[in-house]
Amino acid sequence: MSELHTVNVTINGKKYERQVEPRLLLSDFLRHELGLSGTHVGCEHGVCGACTILYDGVPARSCLMFAVQANGHTLTTVEGLAKSQTELHPLQQAFHEAHGLQCGFCTPGFLVTLVPFLEENPRPTEEEIREAISGNLCRCTGYQHIVDAVKLAAEKGK
């Protein structure tokens, strides 16, 4: 086993310090070390998008980063989107209302991808929405209800 490294990281506003092996994927660090299992793992080669998190505010695949690379950085996972335990994030609420999820496996990746997208582009076209989610696979919804949910969130956010 190679030498352990210290990781100091802020996730959803909370500070964590852990010792990790370099080969530990960031996705596994979040799920297994910290119990933040809202971040899902579908493929571990960057294709499905279920593991998407915000790395310094920018969507990235947590299965294509090592936990050591999070040292000194700020992350947001799906657990960090809602303001409180009782109030969903407006985009989560829109997914709920527009049936943007069925099994929910892909949903954390979609949400984390779309929250910064809508902040940057609050009135997106359907084409822009589809481009934004091109890196997220969903096996259930056929995408239409996800696109509807984004439109609903944009409409409500006006």
């Binding site: 490294h5 370099p22 994927l25 969507p59 695949r61 294509l64 050591v68 690379q69 481009e131 890196g135």
Partner: protein
């Protein structure tokens, strides 16, 4: 799957990075965006003993104009290339191709230098470098040199870089006046590696005759594939549809698509003919505009 064990060092000085690479050679790998290296490690196709994380080399993240060239740092993220106004203005071909490189989340991490050094014949950026006649700067503890794109890509996933060299900067020359460029590819889904793709770069002379043309293909051989004879057929010609058709037919003899589970070589050749026609037509229209 999970990567095999390795040692990890993150450095923020180029000198230290190069010294470490000189010491460890092929045993060590640079970790840039990690969007090709980490999947390969997850599959255990790559098992480097040491990863040298170069993401701290902030000085290698830049896009600027120097002596009429567009100079881009190797660690510039693909997402920056996609959005940068200087790239749109001075290398519109690159800006046009960027949305086809993987997905937004991957372009947020993936770098220009990483894509070029990875040298996947299905990738867009190596084709951009070859089509625009870019030069690539390789630096090692021994010194530095500039490599022409045509000499950089050697074979499948293999470049001219020595084990101790790092790519630090890419120079895209200015397009001449009355130049037009176009990139078109065909993929099964948005963001997938394309089955076939072509970049066309053309220049017109004052009387509307083609002065120069260049055609470069992705997924048509072991490296970005330059169709010299086909492009040569355009030279001295008015860009008529029959001249374009003749070039598209000629290109068929210069590409060697290998086929994959999604497409036979014959289908890739069919795509190449159709895409060549469209790319040349669009490039000429843009040159005339």
């Amino acid at each position: 799957m999970k990567p095999a064990s390795f040692d990890y060092v993150a450095l923020d000085s180029l000198e230290a990075v190069l010294a470490l690479k000189a010491q460890h050679g092929d045993e060590a790998k640079f970790l840039a965006g990690g969007q090709s290296l980490i999947p390969a490690m997850n599959f255990r196709l790559a098992q480097p003993a040491l990863l040298v994380d170069v993401n701290g080399l902030a000085a290698l993240n830049f896009i600027r104009r120097v002596d009429g060239e567009l100079r881009i740092g190797a660690l510039t993220r693909q997402r920056q290339l996609e959005r940068d106004p200087l790239v749109k203005q001075h290398a519109p071909l690159v800006a046009e191709a960027m949305p086809f490189v993987a997905h937004p989340q991957i372009r947020n991490r993936g770098t220009l230098g990483g894509s070029l050094a990875h040298a996947d014949p299905a990738a867009e950026l190596p084709v951009m470098a070859a089509a625009l006649g870019a030069k690539l700067k390789a630096v090692s503890a021994r010194g530095e040199r500039w490599i022409a794109a045509d000499d950089f890509f050697r074979s499948l996933f293999t470049t001219d870089l020595a084990a101790d060299e790092m790519l630090t900067e890419i120079a895209f020359p200015n397009l001449p006046p009355r130049a037009g460029t176009a990139f078109i590819e065909f993929a099964r889904r948005r963001g997938d590696y394309a089955l076939m793709g072509v970049a066309a770069v053309v220049t017109l002379s004052g009387d509307g005759v083609c002065r120069d043309a260049r055609l470069v293909y992705l997924n048509a051989g072991e490296t970005p594939t330059v169709a010299r004879k086909a492009a040569g057929l355009m030279r001295g010609q008015k860009p008529s549809s029959s001249a374009i058709e003749a070039a598209a037919r000629e290109a068929d003899s210069e590409i060697e698509p290998m086929g994959n589970v999604h497409a036979s070589p014959a289908y890739q050749r069919h795509l190449a003919r159709v895409l060549t026609r469209r790319a040349l037509t669009t490039a000429f229209e843009r040159a005339q505009a």
